[in-house]
């Protein structure tokens, strides 16, 4: 079972890196953006698989921090500074959502 998981994962990563860095012809920044989008996909796998609620909360929180990096790369690529604003607001909302979810998980009231 463990070996099977290893083989699936290695094939997935190898395919992605092969297509991204050898086949795809774009600027370096676009390739890096693709890596972050692939990481977001992996985070979504954890959201779907995660055995407990806490795993899903962690994954959503991490997605919020990844998005800041993604928007920073986009803003460099397009030379527009307002993308970083989008990332900041996204991370702020994700922090508030994480705190609220963890309070609910703990079984306390939200105004505690």
């Amino acid at each position: 079972m463990k070996v099977l998981k290893w083989i699936i994962g290695l094939i997935l990563f190898a395919t992605f890196f092969f297509f991204n860095f050898l086949i795809y012809e774009g600027a370096l920044l676009l390739k890096l953006i693709n890596v972050i989008l692939f990481s977001s996909l992996l985070v979504l796998i954890r959201v779907i698989l995660g055995p407990t609620a806490a795993d899903r909360i962690v994954a959503v929180d991490i997605l919020g921090i990844l998005i800041i990096g993604l928007t920073a790369l986009l803003s460099i690529y397009y030379s527009e500074s307002f993308f970083i604003d989008v990332g900041l607001i996204w991370a702020l909302l994700s922090l508030i959502a994480t705190l609220a979810f963890s309070k609910v998980l703990e079984g306390r009231q939200l105004d505690d």
Binding site: G9, L28, L29, L32, V35, I36, F38, S39, L42, V43, I45, R46, T52, A54, D55, I57, V58, A59, D61, I62, I65, L66, I68, G69, A72, L73, S75, I76, S81, I84, D85, G87, L88, A91, L92, L95, T98, L99, F101, S102, K103, L105, E106, G107
Partner: protein, 120 residues
């Protein structure tokens, strides 16, 4: 010159982001996942924003990136702390390979003190 340094920092940041997400996938329980993911993804996003600052200089562009770094450094550990405490209090166990759990041993004592606080 600054462009090269910035691109190197951004590449390092993306690599650490990827390692953090890999840890989120591979490690066995919530607490370990939280450790790897919080550290690596925070450091990676900080690296990307630092690269943005180096490439753009101290314009309004770079200043937004500085605010982003401060925000990440303050927010990520707080969220990690809240989630781990909530997970432990709602009864999610540690992975089987764990060797010690002092928090579980002190739990009865802790619930009493919490009830006392609520009464006051």
């Amino acid at each position: 010159m600054t462009d090269t340094i910035g691109i190197i920092l951004i590449c390092l940041g993306v690599a650490f982001d990827f390692f953090g997400v890999l840890g989120l996938i591979r490690l066995p329980d919530v607490y370990n996942r939280l450790q790897a993911a919080t550290k690596c993804v925070t450091f990676g996003s900080m690296g990307i924003l630092l690269g943005v600052i180096v490439m753009q200089g101290f314009t309004s562009f770079g200043f937004k990136a500085i605010i982003g770094i401060l925000f990440i450094v303050l927010a990520a550990p707080t969220a990690a702390h809240a989630v781990s405490r909530a997970a432990h209090r709602s009864g999610i166990p540690l992975a089987k390979i764990s060797i010690v759990d002092k928090y579980e041993e002190d739990k009865e004592l802790k619930t009493e003190s919490v009830q006392k606080e609520i009464e006051v």
